[in-house]
Symmetry: C2
Subunit: 473 residues, 2 copies
């Protein structure tokens, strides 16, 4: 870059700008994960995967890139806009005429320039997977998947353009036993994390039943949103809101027992059974919830399970059970959600495949575990022992010891050069290494090592075997 | 789609076409991974990660998308072409004038339409990470990273557009002890896999020394390529090839001891020390290899370690050690490679950071383990026990047993519906489930379960505790 006759001030500003421009950055809404963050994330992913496997789920992976023909039209018009599209390789303009270019229709041009996109969730790629591999799949197919997804959303606190989803689904089985197992699975995951949660359960058929008896099928969302405000604004305001949404007074009257629905789950269902007695769909929803409650009682959950009619997530999508999990001790949105859907693969020409699935929100669980300080100490520990490097002779002795520690499964390293003691110790501290081995002249003569506990400061002169045993204990 | 007055034949063809078009597919060069493939891949990744951690490496992750300013110009002109570029969101044409559009300069237009790309390897994002986080990093930084990378390469057998890299690097330390530790790490990984390998070692400084003494610095690659053919074509043809590449006869004469270099590692180095005595750089390379051999002898490797001057991978990049691993029992290219580089982060304005690293080729290791049938049986096992579903009453009993098996860490499931016995058994077979639990009326009365071993066919009537103990043993 050549700058002509600049004033010193301008010059300086330009140079600063150049330096700033050269400094690398990452795309907005994306993140790097440091070793400590990775340790925490691995703890989360490992815990969830282990429970998935404990319940018989098997892992699959799909490519980051899908054909846009697979992705487009599956997430609504808004979703299409949020897809990251990948420019075709080579001469990406070859199929586009001048006129088309100058028309500047971004949707059309994007379709001409790009045939691939990054996956937006794990559900559509899973549906595509089921259709493509239907002849190899062993149904009922219990699959789990832990992979990143990408959305060109406006980044904000807690919302990223790249984030992981952790999904488990059972497809090819209508049995409600799958719902029961998934509730137990959720319960086991949060028991392991030590997070106290409330598992909220609803059924789309009950919501349909409510809409049916008051004759306002398109008002389900308005109704659930209004009911959800009962605690905050009181019955009168809820009723006002319902009327203001165009629900006739008579229907609002019929909704009163539902708005005021309280008590234990069984009591709620009993009340609903009376209110919805004229709706076949509604009664079916109640039967389904009764069945689930019956089975869950066989081995009760650690978490509280609450029937909650205001649960209306994925209303366009779910056809039976709807589930959502709230942390009891942290103010944060839902940390797990899911439900039953009736037609996963119809859009890809394979009708009649019902499924039920859940998705864990890894980023929110990360925050909850952070806030409650619930990471087990050993999940965060990296290297367990650092051999201090005193020089070439001592180094050689340490090198002969190291394989024995590693053979015992102890994560071990030696500082790679004979740097100042202070530097080596602060390396150990920064890496949160629990033990430091000091092997100097006197230790070599005695055939031992001085093992220093970096937390207590305690030092012991031990043989290699003793040191190994001490670290393992 | 409306078809006007079609003949039946045309109509049918069009309909078939429609159905074919609707059938989903994935972008060429990408792959889905089935549960069995994932189990194998997880075995590979878990083994490598475990050894990385055993040697004190810590994991990081970087986003799939990097700014193109980070990626461009780092992989040569060919590499730039192989980057997958991501179309800017929203009105991606807003900064491009009509003239620019009609000029159809694909490079310029790609730069105007796209500011992000998918990562091409893990090294450049790692360099970017080190620069961005230099104030938080604890140097020497021993990091590992296991993530997919994307390249718009022409797909062919064994070459994919999305594949995983497994890298470990130590940066911020010039010590050759890092090379020693990485060789031991490689050795331990292949010992665990049970793959017999030869670890080939070279040093860029020796190659530079050779070029120096024959006065042909730009001919290093030609020389190593020719020498590599000695076994296949014999000395005369090698010399012919060298002459044909424009190397003077006198220089070819001086190369004879190097072409014919044989014997144990120490002998090779002794010969080289004589041949290269006039090259300071060459002698430094020999010293480095001697040091590494000395230290490795402290605790000998399981694998054979061979000094191999024909190793010239990453010649533009590596400045010291060069390492490559070959499987002894399978014909396949290098399955691990690496070396030392002197200036990882200079391109991002942070000079003087030296590093040494290795990269495991997960896809090739996958093939080697497959060909040699080396996957441990328990790495492939999914669910350990399936409870057959005989109906609602039996199901309830099974549901009360299941949590006890899971609490014992046994991966367990119940078939979700009372399907025909044959269907349930073939589900267990297809999923390679080892045990099946039969809980019928007589078992319920006896308070026991019939445990069937699906491999031996053996059946035993056991209590829950006995069944758990049996499966665990």
């Amino acid at each position: 870059m050549v700058i002509f006759a600049p004033s010193t001030k301008t010059n300086k500003r330009l140079l600063n700008y150049e330096i700033m421009a050269a400094k690398p950055s990452i795309p907005k809404g994306t993140r790097d994960f440091s070793p400590t963050e990775m340790a925490k994330r691995n703890y989360i992913f490992n815990t969830i995967s282990e429970v998935f496997r404990l319940f018989g789920f098997e892992q699959i992976e799909t490519p980051a890139m899908e054909n846009l023909s697979t992705l487009m039209g599956k997430y609504g018009e808004e979703g299409d806009k949020l897809l990251f599209k990948i420019l075709n390789s080579g001469d990406f303009l070859s199929h586009t005429g001048d006129e088309e270019l100058l028309a500047r229709n971004t949707n059309k041009l994007a379709a001409a320039l790009c045939e691939k996109g990054l996956r937006y969730d794990l559900t559509v790629p899973f549906a595509r997977f089921v259709v493509m591999h239907q002849n190899e799949i062993n149904f009922p197919f219990k699959r789990y998947q832990l992979q990143p997804v990408w959305r060109a959303d406006r980044p904000q606190k807690g919302r990223y353009r790249e984030f992981y989803q952790c999904d488990a689904d059972v497809v090819g089985s209508n049995s409600l036993l799958n719902e029961v197992e998934l509730l137990q699975l959720i319960d086991e995951v949060y028991r392991r994390f030590g997070i106290r949660v409330s598992i909220k359960l609803n059924n789309r058929k009950i919501l349909s039943g409510i809409a049916e008896i008051i004759g306002e099928p398109e008002k389900i969302t308005d109704i659930t949103v209004a009911i959800d405000k009962l605690d905050k604004i009181g019955l009168d305001k809820v009723n006002e809101e319902l009327l203001s949404k165009g629900i006739p007074a008579e229907s609002v009257d019929r909704l009163q027992p539902i708005i005021l629905l309280q008590g234990a789950n069984r009591e709620k269902l009993a009340t609903l059974r009376t209110v919805l007695k004229e709706s076949e769909t509604g009664i079916k929803g109640i039967d389904e919830l009764e069945y689930i409650l019956d089975k869950i009682e066989t081995s009760p959950l650690h978490s509280e399970l609450e029937i909650d009619l205001t649960l209306a997530r994925g209303l366009n999508y779910y056809t039976g059970a709807i589930v959502e999990v709230k942390a009891l001790d942290v103010e944060i949105g839902s940390i797990t959600g899911g439900g039953r859907y009736d037609n996963l693969t119809g859009v890809f020409g394979m009708p009649g495949i019902s499924g039920v699935g859940i998705s864990f929100g890894a980023d929110r669980i990360f925050d909850v575990l952070n806030q409650l300080d619930l990471y087990p100490e050993d999940s965060l520990q990296t290297t367990q022992i650092l051999f201090v490097n005193f020089g070439e002779r001592e180094e050689a002795v340490c090198l002969s010891y190291l394989p024995r520690f590693r053979a015992a499964g102890i994560r071990s390293e030696i500082y790679p050069e004979a740097a100042k003691m202070k530097k080596q110790m602060s390396y150990a501290n920064a890496k949160k290494i629990h033990f430091v081995a000091l092997v100097g002249e006197s230790e070599i003569e005695a055939g031992k090592i001085t093992l220093k506990n970096m937390i207590t400061g305690e030092q012991q002169l031990l043989s290699v075997e003793e040191a190994i045993a001490h670290i393992q204990s």
